[in-house]
Every structure is written in structure tokens, then in C-alpha cells.
Amino acid sequence: MRRLFLFLSFVGWAAFAPVGLEAAAQTLARSGAQAPPAAPRNQTLKEALLELQRCYKVDILFEEEAMTGVRVPTGLLDRTTTLEKNLKTLLNANGFRFRHLRNGAYVVRRARSAATTPAAPSPPTELEATTAEPAPIPPVMPIPTERLPLPERSVSGRVTDETGAGLPGVNVTVKNSARGTTTGTTGAFRLSVPDDNAVLVFSSVGYQKQEILVGNRTNLAITLKADDQTLNEVVVVGYGKVRRSDLTGSVAQFKNEGANERPAGSIDQLLQGRASGVQLTQTSGAPGAGVSFLIRGASSVTGSNQPLIVLDGYPIESNDRTLTPNSGANQWTTSVPPTNALANINPSDIESIEILKDASATAIYGSRGANGVVLITTKRGKSGRDKVTFSARTDISRLPKKIPMVGTRDYITYANEARLNSGQDSLYKATDIAALANTDINWQDLIYQTAVSQDYQLGFAGGDDKTTYALSTNYTRLQGIIRNSSFDRGSFRLNIDRQVTPRLKLRSSINASMSTNKAAQQANSNGQPSGSTVVGALVFRPIDQPYSGEEDDPNPALSGNPLTLIQIQKDQSRSRLLLLNVAADYKIAEGLFFRFNGGANETTSLREAYLPRGTFQGDAVGGLAYRATASNFNYLLENTLSYDRQVGTRHRINAVLGYTWQSWIQRTAGNQATNFPNDNLGFYAFQIASSSEVPLTNTTQWALASYLGRVNYTFNDRYLITLTGRADGSTRLAAGNKWAFFPSVALGWNLHNEPFMSRNGFVSELKLRGSYGLTGNQAIGVGSTQSALGTIRTTVNGTIVTSLLPSRIGNPDLRWETTRQLNLGADLGMLANRFRLSIEVYRRRITNLLLNQALPGSTGFTTIAANAGEIENKGLEIEAEARLLTAAGNGKLTWTVTGNISFNRNRVLNLNGLQLFGPNYLSVGALGFGQPLHTAVAGEPIGAFFGYRLNGIYQNADEIKTGPTDPSNPTVGSWRYADLNGDNVINANDRTIIGNPYPLYTFGITNDLRWRGFSLSILVMGNLGQQLLNVNRYYTDALALSTGGNVSQRAFDNRWRGEGTSATHARPLAIGPAWRQRFPDFLVEDASFVRLKTLTVAYTLPAEQIRHLVTPKLFVTATNLLTFTRYSGYDPEVSAFATNALTPGVDFGVIPQFRTFSVGLSAGF
């Protein structure tokens, strides 16, 4: 046992040792296994070592064959001194050295310097023979040229495509050396080669690689063939890669090109419009804001719908989150946009993204795969010449449109009319009107700005044939279109790969980034307008004085005005991301690899906010400071065995088997203080506050253990089968339900490889695929299985104490949410895949839905975590690519069109007879609405809009009298609500589904055109058939003076002024709540849109003109240049509360999307 342990720990040590132990994985003879020697006058080194081992009772490990024939004198050993001294004496003279292992053993190896090696190379032993099989990497590095000067000579030439046009940017390298160059704009190159035997390798994306023996030629003409072998492309799938032709699942691929040319704050923004089945909606136009990321529709009611994001094999934290104070400032706390966890990763570091959609692809992620999986591969170095790349970009962004609100003259008319209509005296008399003559403020002008943003990227990459590296650094500063808001990120990534031995390869990644988000306050469902810059800019009146008169200070008498939010309120979040990952691949036998993958991911964030006097909240409590930190740490340990081999000519097997463990711990701590003597120091000095809250700390931990396996078998390149399974055990679930198994099966048929098809030159690819399987969702609060206590504060005999009371009722029966997904797909390629088409249809059924089921208040609780109900997503996805013009090369135009369209229908099948509601909206402030706007009910999509239908305006008293009874006391000119249930009373039973937040379909079309050095890329995308809930209009169109706010020009112009004057807008009133405290379908708008998302024009300068620079490129990009929509709000691409599946499609106080013009350059040398 001890021996085994020793062996294991040695291997373990070697695997983790940083560098330099090339021999580690080679077979080492363990000396203890040898027989004791006789005592000749001089002995072999091996014998001497064995003797030392006996004397000192230690283990000494050595490479037996390395010391064959080495002999040492017998008298050399001195038992009175230390083992180390003896080893030194024994080994140094013979060109060996030793190392002391942590467990007490010693390892002996040959010293580095070849010069001291005394013996000639020994004949290969049996053991070496097994390692001498062809390795994937060339085994020997050539001797550096400077050591071995050879006659050099120069070779030049030109690389063309099949039409004869010069090919720029082709990599030309000397095989087995670091030497290389790139062709210029005409395809010409020149480089020096060591001798006539040099082999040049020509490679370029989209072309077949070619190797040419130089021979005695000095001028070469090379023609590269277009590479249509896309079928042999490798696709990254979970825990491995498969050939595209062997793929049975639904995987969308995205190659990240030109990320630095577009303003994308985070990687998810890059994907917008470019992959089918993926609906990405930017939640807001705030810098650093999140993206609502839905793969094949919403599937969880309570939990996150965010797909699992796996970065280079490491599942990372990707949920948006915000640190919010635990009590007090309800109107304010959740008003900031959530932090987008992905914004900490530099989009330009990404090489490619694979999106796993169907069960066959996602089942390998088991309980985490239900929302789809996004596999991100970062750029790694390639052996060859070192490359330095640099890019810089500047963006100029503006708000494309303002909402027309009334000015002072119309506002006064409106206010007076409202008062008169309510039987009150007019509000503004002639003198008031005269006094206001010079005041006409458009608050939107005060809030928005032209934002200037910058992005800089600097990258180094290269390597030799054993070590490759890629290092990138980035600084981005995104300025918000709301004044004083910004997002800054600096990031660093270092990927180093090392072929340690022919069998062992190490891959390591270090990613560190820091960001600072200065947020402009948006809105929360509570609806205090003074808590949102955007709502504030709409509802503050044109007659309100924004400035105090002294310079540009906000008017303190106008508490809560949006200017105070951006000028004197401070709210900033800093976050740091550290992601360390090491993978070791050990080749056990041909095609059989063992991989250890481990790493740690830590994200820490600090939010600091101060609301001084002059803000609504600051006024109420004498200044409010909040400071909180959160640290999310998780580590991953993964062991997988993979097997990928062609067996015979007909069978190909790609299999993986593994075990993973991931464990998380989250810690947060928050402090809040109020009653500051003055506002000078803000959150920097809590100690000067008079009151501070009990700090809130949380520590949450959970873990997931999994066994996984997959076999992908291909017979004769035609028939494919994939079996996948994963067993997941989670700490979050109740004992007895902790483990679950998620299997899937998929079949595929490559028809194009059938003899009857192969004669057909027209069809180059035709594959049919089908899969069925299970995945799960672990999105359930930690601790949900157990009943827990909460704190409550109580006054006892005049002092305040904290006590405990039941706050959560545990559900010991909680199980995984399970998704069953059926997917059928077909891939068609024509004319050597010049035209490609993929079609997928799917049905996802989510059962045992995990949700916080509402409990009747009479239980004393509000919710319980439960498995209840079923949801279905059905859909169709089509992706197409056409290389319309392929004649690549100088002077010729190439044109590629790719497009995708996705249809998804989301429907709740049942919820155990319950109807769920979203949170109550606008429950504070002057509106007092306090009702949900969303519902989940059988037969409807999750989070469908729920409210009353309007049926025009009461034109006369008779209509009120003869109409249904309305207890909300309508008067002539009031909105008329529809009596949907026919009971002749307008009440809550007349509420119904009044809108669907999900689009009927989404599409994206990309056109790429290249001509000479110019390229043009155009992305048009659209969401059609979606509706939005324009909550801003609850204020601006209510025509209720009691809201205290301004009205939109449209509402004002269309207001009711007598019978027949308006059928769309009510009569202004001064008394009574807005909309008579009902949520009307008036606020639901068609928000279909088609937009020219990005348009990039780039020009690559002829390299010859600028010394040392390779492919210098200038580019100009326009983002959101044109938008076609009927939506009346700022922008139809919005989802204020996207983190909750029950609140989709809300536009409320959200910073809108903006139009951006970017200009920049990139270059390399």
C-alpha cells in the first residue's frame, strides 16, 4: 500500500510541478524492487543508490536505463555524513543530479547539460519503444540556428488562389522552425531558409494547407486551394471535441472575428443576431449592463434562465447580480442595473463560441444543461513567429430619439384643465403663468450626453513547438449616454501551453480583470420616480427649476430630481475577476488520454453608494451611505479519460468518461449608515454617521459532484450514434433526491457518404440527426429544503433587540427540474458546401418546475420552494450560409451571406392549477398601484402581461349609466374598462392576458463583402411579433395630475375635451389615481423591430507601404444605425427585469439603446 502511495504521490507531484521535469512521466524503476547487490570493487551507480536507500531507509527513484553502464568506486560512500552529501558525491561526477521530494523520497535524473553526459546513447529499451509511437507533436526541436550557422539563402514567391489572384495574409513558415512571414497584399512573400531541404508551410483560413520542398528554387509560385473540408472541422463539445461530420447534436458555432471593431461590452453582445435559437436582448443601454440570454426559450420560472457558460472547460459564474442593502431604502436599493458577470471578460480574447442546444449536446452537463450551454474558447498561441497585435477604437454614442413631453405652456394648460375638470380652482393664475414665462425645461436634455468611449487591445502570441503562449491586455472605457455614468475595464489574459513530454501536455490560463461601474440609477418595480434617472427625466415638469441658481448645482428644493441622481449621488461598483485554470493531458495510449482539469475562479465586488441630501432618500434620512462586498469563489476538479480512435477503416469511436467536482462559496457583507452631519465625505467615512445599521453578512456554500460519460460511434462515416449520460449529486437538494441521472441518445446519418449519394456532385453534405434526452436545472435557492428562521427586531422594555422567527418553510421533497428535449435536424451542403443550410425542430418539456410557489398568506409565509408544473418550448431554427461570390483575391469581390431565423413558442402546460404572478409594481410613491403586471398560467407563455382591457373613453354620462358598474368611479371622459367576464361589474375578475413578451421569431442576416483591401460587414437583426410593457407611460399618459408629473405631448394632444373629441386618451383630472389604479392594455405595445445592428467598413493597408507592420487595418463601425419599429418608447430592445423569468419585456426607467459610431485601427508586427 505504501508503495502504491509513493508512486501515486510522485506522479501527483510531477503533474503539478511547474516546469522542468521532463522525465517525470517516463517510467521510473523503483529501487526497492531490486535485489541486494554483491560487493564488487566498483559497483554500478544503480547499486550504489540501492545501498544508500538501505542505509538511510529512504526511497530513491531513478530512471534505470539512463544510468546503464555508469560505474562508481565502492569507497565513495561515507555513512557518517548525510544522505544528501553522499548523493552529491555519487551523482555530480557522473552527470546526474537529485531532487528531494516533499514526501521524503529522492528522485535522481540526468543533469541538463548534454556536455556532461558521459555515455553514448543507450539502445532503446522495451519501455522506450512503447513511447516511440507517432506523437501528435514533432518530437524534436531543431537546434537553434544561431548555434549552428548554416548557409542561409533567400526564397521569394507569390501565393495565389485558384483564380490566380494574389492572396494576402497567408502564413508562410519554415517547417519545424520558428521562422516565418506573411504574404503582402499582392500575395508576395520573401524569407530566408536554412538550406535546400527546408519545407515551407503555407496556411490561411479557408484554404487547404500546403507544404512545399524548397529545393534549389529561389522563386516559388504557390496556388492554394479553397478549403471546403468544413466537414473535418473540429467542433468543441462538452469535455472534448468531435469532428463536425460525426456530430449528432445541435451545436451552433460562432467564430469571433473583428470583436475589437465593434462596441461590445461583453461576450454575449457579440452573439446577438448571429446564432439561431439564441435570443439575446440587451437589458439596458447602461454601460456594462447585462444581456438577457435565452437559448430556445425561457424554461424556469423562479430560477435563472441564463445558460451555463464554460470558459476553456471551466464553468464560470455568469449570473447577473447586484449588491443591495438589506433594509431601509426600498425605493432605491434595487434601482441600479445588475452587474453583468460576463462584462469582466474581454470579448476580444475569444477565439470561438459554441452553443449547445439539444439534449444530446447538453446532457453531458446534466443538471446544469437545461438552459443550454455556451462553450467559449479563448485564443491560444501557435508555434511560429511571435506576433504582436494592437488595436484601438473610439466610439461616439448618442441617444437616437427623445420622448416628446409637453413644455411649460401646454403643461399649464393641462394642469389647469385637470383642476377645473375635478371641480377645483385652476392651479396657475395669470401671475403664475407670467412668472413661469422663461422657464421651459426639457429634463431629457439635462440627463443625456454624447458619450465617448475607448477600447485598446494589445496582444502577444507565439511559441515554439513545445511551448506556445498568448498574452492579451485590454483597457476599455465605456461612457454612458447618461451623464456621469461609465464602465471601465482592464483585463489581462495569459494562456500558456507546454508539451512537457511527448505524452504530457499542460495547458494553463490566467485571466484577471478589474472593472469599475459608475451606475446611473434606473428603475425598480417599486416605481418611485425619484429613484430613476430616466423616469425622472420624463416626469419632472418643464416648470421645475433644475438648478439652485448658484452655478450648476442641482436645486435642493426639488428633492429627488434626476439631476441630483447624476450630479450629487455616487454609486459605483468595482469588481475583480480572477480565473486560474490548469489542465494536464496525459496520453496513456494511442487515442487514449487522461485529463486533469482544475482551477479556481474568484469574483469580488465592492459597491459603494452615497445618497446625499437633495436626493429623495438622502433627505429622508440625512444622507445614506452603503458599502458592501461580495466574493464568489469556486473551484473545480475534473478527471476525464477520453478515447478518440479510428478502429479499422470503418469504426470511429470518440468517448469520454469522467468525474467532476465543483464547489462554491459566496460571501457578502454589507453596511449601511444614515444621519451624516454633512455630505462631504459620503461613503468614505461611515464613522461620522449617527446611525448605522446592523451589518448583514452571508455565507452560502454548495457543491456539485458528477460522473459523466459519452460515446460517439461512427460506422463507415455514415451512421452515427451518441450516448451521453451524467449523474449529478447536489448539496442543494433533499437527502434521497440528491442524485439524478441525465441520459441522452442521438442518431445521425451522413447520407452524402452513401454510395447512392456520392455520385451526386451537387449535394456535398446531407445529414439527418435526431436526439432525445434529459437535462436538469439546479436553479434553486441554497437551503430551500430546510425550514429556517429569520431575524426580526423588537422593542423590549424600550430597547431594541433582534429576535428570531420562522421565515422559510423547507421542502424536503425538492427534486431537480427536468427538461426532456427532442431535436430533429438536417444539414445540407451544396456545391462543395458553398451553400449550406441547417434546419432544426425541437420540443423541450420542462417538468417538476422548480419555483417559489406562492403560499396563501394565511400560512404565515409567502412562498415555498416546490416542484410544480410543466412548461413547453417548441421551435424551429434555420441557419443558412451562402458564399455567393468566392473568387477570392486581389481585385475580385467576395460576398458571403449568413442568416438565421428562430421561432420559439413558450407555453406553460400546467402549474398544478395555480396562477403565478410577478411582483407588484409601483407600490410606493404617488401612484400606489401595487399590482402585478405579469402572470404565469396554464396555456400562456411564462410572464405574459396580465391586466385590464380598455374599451375607449366614456363619451357621456349616459354611457357610464348604462355601462357596467365600475366601483372606481369613472366620470365623463374617463377611460372605459371592458367587462370581460360579462358580470356587469368591472373588477379584478376582468383581468386577462393582454400581451406576450416573446417574439414570434427572431432573425439575423450578416453580409460580408471583401474587395481588395476593403471589407464591409453588415448585420441586420430583428425581433418580430414581440410586445413590450411600456411602464413609463403609466406616468406620462395617465393625464392624472395626482401623479405630480409631466405628460407626453401625444397624451396632451389627444386628451378628451368633450364628447367625440378623443377615443384614445382620457380627460385630465386632478383627483384620483392614475388609470384608476388598474393596469390597462394601453401600456402594452407592439415592439417588433428590425434594425441595422452593425455596419463595419474596414480597409487593410498594403503592408509594404508601412515598414514592420503587418495587416494594418482601419475601420469604421456604426451600431444601431437604423431601427424600424412602431414602438413609442425610446427603444424596443429592452428588458428591465430580465433576471426574473416572471418579468420579461418591461421598459421602465431603462437607459435606452443608443446609436454609436466607432472608428479605429488595428495592426500587428
Partner: protein
């Protein structure tokens, strides 16, 4: 080869072992129910929590008392949050209605939680009895508010657990009252009197509190029979009410203090010689605003321009949301009540504002540059030291001796007509009112003139309660339980008969004619009577989550 395989297997196995595989959930930052209530100190903590549920925003800090204020006829608010109650535009989704329901059931469940566990905790029997008494009191207290607001309600007498029936139907009003009276009788038996209560437990339920609430519960229950014409049952419960009222009065634990001092926040503790039970609030230096342990009825009741009355800004003003209907002020300051100290002390009709200008409130007469306002304020919850507008020291008094005396008079009147005993109890309030601020004395209000009929006497009690207890959360309950001169509820009488006769609109000061013109009530708060307003609607949360629930008639 074989050894290689073995080694490989061992390697993998060792890494698996290294990774570990413990899937037991460890909750380190949240106390779990299963470990709680083991010791006497746990019991004290859990009991504190039940009281804590009463001071939450959803409970008496705002929602519960706002229903009693806003839906009555004497006080109204134009602030949108509360306006719906006075406008009668509230419905099953109104925040205050749902909040009230949830808050009171939170109290019930928290009390049940400890009641279920207390018998297993080793501790001195007298303390255990006291705690049981308090828990019984608190549970009954919550149910008594529930049954009055909502009628039949689900009756939970055990803590809700995963295996409980989570979807309980509503029990009958009779069953709820049976539980309330049983709990209060038990509390009355187990709890110490005010003077015997340990000082560290000051403010907690006492025998007197249990009996006072039992008086009110019995009286209210009797009223329901009375209104239904079930005289026998009514008598039975009127008698119970009288018995417990007498017990409180005759215990001599409580006394009528100076009416002036009753609303002096600095003397609050001393006032518990008259206050029998109150919701304990205290200025909260740690947490501000809605979550503070301070009360917020002061902030909403005090004018927004009067300095040093509440906690807004450096001027310490209130936000002036609750205001008195002018007709109600008139009723409380004329006739019997002309020159009544209580009206002077209770209603704010003029003040000097933060800009040092006098504000004359109806019916005060402005002079010179005085500003005017049309509606007086209830000036009971004044706290110039309030930390913010939701953070006052002022307790919310649930019942005090004056209330019990009037209940005694009422019960006696219902049983035996306006006997001398009934007059004596009633006139103790008049007598105290004549003592005015305790220093000077007055001749008004005179004792109630004898020889009233039973109906007349009841009507006088209604009016007396209106003045004496204004702003203390009694009015709406009195409206819906008491019988009017026309035989139906006082609520119907007020809305069908009294209010329509009042000139609608608020008073307007006519500077030329130097008189208050206009109406005497907010026009928007006068509504045709509808029987559904006698109960609040069952909130939407209960209705949608509980398939066994039903809505109240008319909603």
C-alpha cells in the same frame, strides 16, 4: 501492462478521493428551525419575535392602522397610498389590504410556532405560564383584527410546517370568536396584572390587556348577533363583555390620567397607567424609515410645514397626509362638546410654520398674512425628537381605560338600558375632560343628561368614542359594529344619512367676507353605502394561492 493498468486505476482513484464527495448541505449563515427553541433564552427570543411582528410596516407600523384610519369617515388622506381607502376605490389588490392579512397571519404563525414547542423546554413553570399567556393573547389579538377586517378567516392553531394543510378554507366567524375568547380567557388566567409584571417585561400583555381585549371581542361578537336580531346570543355576549370590563375597571390597576399628558411622548411610560395595551415603538437609531422600530403614524399625521413635531428634515416636520374632515371637527367642538378640552388638545387648528408664519386651519380665523388650511390635524402623535418621518417614539395605543369604561357603559346599556351604572362609567370621561390639562378645570363638558333612551345612549357613546378616541384606530370598527338609530350599522347610517347632508367640498377662506365658506367634507369621500364595505376584500394573494379560499360578498 497489467501493472500499468493497475497504476492507472490507482491514479484515477486517488484523484477521486482527493476531490472528495460530501454532498451534505451545510447552512452556516441562517439559523434552522429544527435547532430552535431548546432553552429558556430561546423561548424569550421567540416570544420577542411575536411582539416584533406587530411593529412591522405591514402590521401596526402602517398597514393595519391605515385601514382603520383610511376607511373610516372622520379622517382621510389625499396621499395616493392611502387615498384609495377613503375614495373607496380599494380592492383585493390594494397593498394595505394584502399587507394587513399577511402581517396578522405572520403574528399568528409566530405565536403558534412557540406554542407548539414550549412544552418541551425545561424552565420555571411560572415563566412558562406567563409566556403561554402572552402567546395566547397575541394569537387572539391577531385573530380579533382578522375577523373584524375580513369576517370568516382560516383558523390556524398550529405552526405551519411542510406537512401542514397549506390551503386551509375559511372557518366560520363563530369558530374564530370561539378561539379568540378561549385564548383570551386562558391569557387572563395566566398573565400577571400590570403592577405584578416584571419591569423588564414592561409593555407586554397583562391580565388587564387580555381582559380589555376580551371585553372588546365579546362586545363586537354580541353586536353581530344584535344586528342579526339574535337577541339571546347577543345578551349572552354583552354580559361577558360587561363582566370583563368590570374586572378591568375594578382591578384598580388603571386610572384616568391627565388628558394632556396622555399625548406627551416623554411621559409615555407613565401613561401605561391608563394605557392597557399598546404597540411598542421606539426611536430607532440603527435602522431608518419603513423598517425602523419607530412608529410612523406621527409623520403622516403631523403637518408638513410645522416645525418640531416629527422627523422630516432639519425643521422636523411631518408630511401631513392624514387630516380631519371639517364636519367631524365641528361635531367634536359643538353642542355637548363646546369648550371640551379634549377637542382643543386633540385637533390642531393653528400653528406657526417653518417660515414663521401663522397658519390658520379651519375653523380658526386668520389675521394679516396668515396662511390658511381647510382641514385640522389629529395632534396626538407628536414627537419632535423623531429621527425621521417613520421613526417616532409614540406607541400606538390599542386600548386604554377610557375605551374600557365606554365599553362597559355600552354593554350595560345593551343589557339593561341606560342604568345609573352605565351613566357613571360614561361620565367618568366627562369628568376627566373637565379636569382639562390637570392644572386648570372647566365646567364643560357637562355630565351626560339622564333619561336617555337606550338608542339615544348608544348614540352618545358613539359620539363620545368619536372624540375621546379619535386617531387611535377605533372609528372604523365602531362604525361597522354599532347599531345606528335606524337599526342598521352605524357605517350605513353615516354614509347614507349623515354625510350626504353635509355640504360637499372643503372650507375656503373668504378674505373679503372674513369667513370660511365652501363645504365641510371632502366631496370625494362621500359615497353611497354599499354593504361590501363592512368587510375588506380577501386579498388577491390568498385568493390566488389558496384554491379553498373565497371572496367576501360584493368584492
Amino acid at each position: 501492462m497489467k501493472t500499468n493498468l493497475l497504476r492507472g486505476a490507482g491514479f484515477v482513484a486517488s484523484l477521486l478521493a482527493l476531490n472528495g464527495c460530501r454532498l451534505e448541505e451545510q447552512i452556516v449563515d441562517t439559523p434552522l428551525s429544527e435547532n430552535f427553541v431548546r432553552t429558556q433564552s430561546d423561548v424569550a427570543t421567540a416570544l420577542n419575535a411575536v411582539y416584533g411582528t406587530l411593529t412591522e410596516f405591514n402590521s401596526f407600523k402602517f398597514n393595519v392602522y391605515s385601514l382603520t384610519y383610511g376607511a373610516a369617515d372622520d379622517i382621510s388622506s389625499t396621499a395616493a397610498e392611502q387615498a384609495a381607502l377613503g375614495l373607496k376605490s380599494y380592492n383585493f389588490a390594494t397593498v394595505q389590504v394584502g399587507g394587513t392579512w399577511n402581517a396578522l397571519y405572520r403574528t399568528v404563525n409566530t405565536a403558534n410556532f412557540l406554542l407548539d414547542r414550549i412544552d418541551n423546554v425545561p424552565m420555571p413553570p411560572d415563566y412558562k405560564n406567563r409566556v403561554k399567556g402572552e402567546l395566547s393573547f397575541l394569537r387572539a389579538f391577531a385573530y380579533f383584527y382578522l375577523v373584524r377586517f375580513f369576517g370568516p378567516v382560516p383558523l390556524r392553531t398550529q405552526a405551519t410546517a411542510t406537512d401542514s394543510d397549506l390551503y386551509m378554507p375559511r372557518s366560520s366567524v363563530d369558530a374564530v370568536y370561539a378561539q379568540i375568547t378561549q385564548d383570551l380567557r386562558l391569557a387572563s388566567a395566566l398573565l400577571p396584572t400590570r403592577t405584578r409584571q416584571p419591569t423588564t417585561e414592561f409593555g407586554r400583555a397583562t391580565k388587564g390587556a387580555a381582559q380589555a381585549i376580551l371585553t372588546k371581542a365579546a362586545l363586537t361578537y354580541a353586536n353581530t348577533f344584535d344586528l342579526k336580531g339574535e337577541a339571546g346570543k347577543a345578551r349572552e355576549w354583552y354580559a361577558t363583555a360587561k363582566t370583563y370590563a368590570d374586572s378591568v375597571i375594578n382591578s384598580n390597576e388603571y386610572t384616568l390620567l391627565s388628558y394632556n399628558d396622555l399625548w406627551n411622548v416623554d411621559k409615555e411610560r407613565d401613561n401605561y397607567r391608563e394605557f392597557i395595551f399598546g404597540i411598542q415603538f421606539t426611536r430607532d437609531r440603527i435602522v431608518a424609515q419603513a423598517q425602523a422600530q419607530g412608529s410612523e403614524h406621527g409623520g403622516r399625521s403631523m403637518p408638513s410645514t410645522m416645525p418640531n413635531v416629527s422627523g422630516l428634515g432639519t425643521a422636523k416636520t411631518g408630511v401631513g397626509q392624514w387630516k380631519v374632515q371639517p364636519w367631524f371637527y365641528d361635531q367634536c367642538s359643538t353642542g355637548d362638546y363646546a369648550g371640551d378640552y379634549r377637542a382643543e388638545r386633540t385637533f390642531l387648528t393653528s400653528f406657526v410654520n417653518t417660515a414663521n408664519r401663522r397658519v390658520a386651519i379651519y375653523p380658526s380665523l386668520p389675521t394679516g398674512t396668515d396662511l390658511t388650511e381647510p382641514q385640522p390635524y389629529v395632534f396626538k402623535y407628536v414627537d419632535g425628537q423623531a429621527l425621521d418621518i417613520r421613526n417616532h417614539e409614540s406607541d400606538f395605543v390599542i386600548t386604554r381605560l377610557a375605551d374600557v369604561l365606554l365599553m362597559k357603559a355600552e354593554a350595560e346599556n345593551e343589557l339593561n338600558g341606560p342604568t345609573a351604572e352605565a351613566y357613571v362609567a360614561f361620565n367618568r370621561l366627562r369628568e376627566r375632560a373637565r379636569r382639562a390639562d390637570g392644572v386648570t378645570t372647566r365646567t364643560t363638558p357637562a355630565n351626560l343628561a339622564p333619561a336617555l333612551t337606550k338608542d339615544q345612549f348608544r348614540q352618545r357613546i358613539f359620539l363620545e368614542r368619536g372624540l375621546e378616541l379619535v386617531g387611535e384606530g377605533h372609528r372604523w370598527f365602531d362604525l361597522v359594529r354599532m347599531k345606528s338609530p335606524e337599526g342598521r350599522t352605524m357605517y350605513e347610517y353615516q354614509f347614507s344619512t349623515v354625510l350626504p347632508k353635509i355640504t360637499p367640498g372643503l372650507p375656503r377662506w373668504n378674505a373679503t367676507a372674513r369667513r370660511w365658506e365652501g363645504g365641510r367634507t371632502e366631496a370625494t369621500n362621500v359615497h353611497a353605502f354599499n354593504a361590501r364595505f363592512l368587510l375588506f376584500p380577501v386579498p388577491i394573494g390568498e385568493l390566488t394561492a389558496n384554491p379553498n379560499s373565497q371572496q367576501n360578498p360584493g368584492w
